[in-house]
């Protein structure tokens, strides 16, 4: 109650009650005087304003910290980008394989299906067909009894 009285935080009725109480209560009077003295002591104590250039220092500190935070974010980003690129490539390949198989399965004519299979088959691949320069060279270099 004494604290609130000193801080002027009592209602009018409470204040009146307290005023009449301290007239008859020596201990509360003493407490009130000590609290007032403490309040005066705080009021007379030095205040510490921010030094000159404080705001500039804070902003410089802020820019430095935010900059390092941004840099750390950027150093992480390429990893995510790489992971995204690899995932995208895998997805494209999978879609290609599946759609290719589906197209092949849809072909009803066995000749056409065989033709497609032969097109992709490595068994039919000739590195030096007889008509090419390599083929002619091979023929010439072969022993005569083999020709």
């Amino acid at each position: 109650m004494i604290s609130q009285y000193v801080d002027d935080e009592l209602s009018l009725d409470e204040k009146k009650d307290f005023d009449s109480h301290i007239e008859s209560c020596a201990s509360c009077r003493e407490g009130l005087e000590e609290t007032r003295a403490l309040h005066r002591l705080f009021a007379s104590a030095q205040r510490f304003p921010a030094p000159y250039g404080f705001a500039t220092k804070v902003l410089a500190n802020l820019e430095e910290k935010e900059g390092s935070r941004l840099r750390s974010l950027l150093s992480v980003r390429p990893f995510f980008l790489r992971a995204a690129q690899v995932t995208f490539a895998l997805v494209v390949m999978t879609i290609g394989i599946i759609s290719g198989n589906l197209l092949l399965a849809e072909r009803t004519d066995p000749i056409g299906q065989t033709a497609v299979q032969e097109t992709f088959s490595l068994d039919l691949f000739q590195a030096t067909p007889p008509d090419s320069i390599g083929g002619i060279y091979n023929t010439l270099m072969r022993p005569s009894h083999e020709r």
Partner: protein, 168 residues
């Protein structure tokens, strides 16, 4: 005003620092006597601007960050509990003769010494009341507590300070 800070505009933030730097710096001095904490308060404030509710009071929000920063300072025990050397780097505030300035400085040091011996919650309440001159309602808002609790904390803090300052 706070809506403009949503984009974390540094020039607007600088205006905020300039407006509240003295109050925050002074509060940190009486709470922990470390000016570095005043810088930390504004750095935290900048990062948490998005959490600020437009209806709330800007200075009570800043005070809350300041008090929490000072309390964290103690919890982490980053630095020594209390430095008793004079604060030669701070310029005296206010006007008056050199003798008056010297006296006010000595009083401040005695108060700071006594404050360090108070429990943290009591210290925060009494500093906000006596140093920052906030009302009980504002203190309750800053400390996220009821006005009744604030009354009790201030009363207990004063009682303890009366005894502590008699000894000092």
């Amino acid at each position: 005003m706070t809506k403009r800070f949503k984009g974390n505009d540094l020039s607007e933030f600088e205006a905020l620092i300039c407006k509240y730097q003295d109050r925050v710096y002074n509060l940190c001095h009486y709470m922990v006597r470390d000016p570095q904490d005043a810088q930390d308060v504004f750095l935290k404030a900048y990062r948490h601007l998005k959490d600020f509710r437009p209806g709330a009071s800007l200075y009570t929000w800043l005070y809350r960050i300041a008090v929490n920063t000072c309390l964290d300072y103690k919890r982490k025990s980053r630095r020594e509990a209390f430095r008793s050397e004079p604060l030669s780097e701070d310029l005296p505030s206010g006007e008056g003769s050199p003798h008056q300035l010297y006296e006010s400085r000595k009083i401040a040091e005695s108060i700071q010494l006594a404050l360090q011996k108070l429990p943290q919650k009591l210290r925060a309440a009494i500093v906000l009341r006596e140093i920052e001159e906030l009302s009980y309602e504002e203190i309750a808002e800053v400390l996220h507590t009821s006005v009744g609790t604030v009354k009790s904390r201030i009363s207990r803090a004063r009682e303890q300070l009366r005894h502590l300052l008699k000894k000092i």
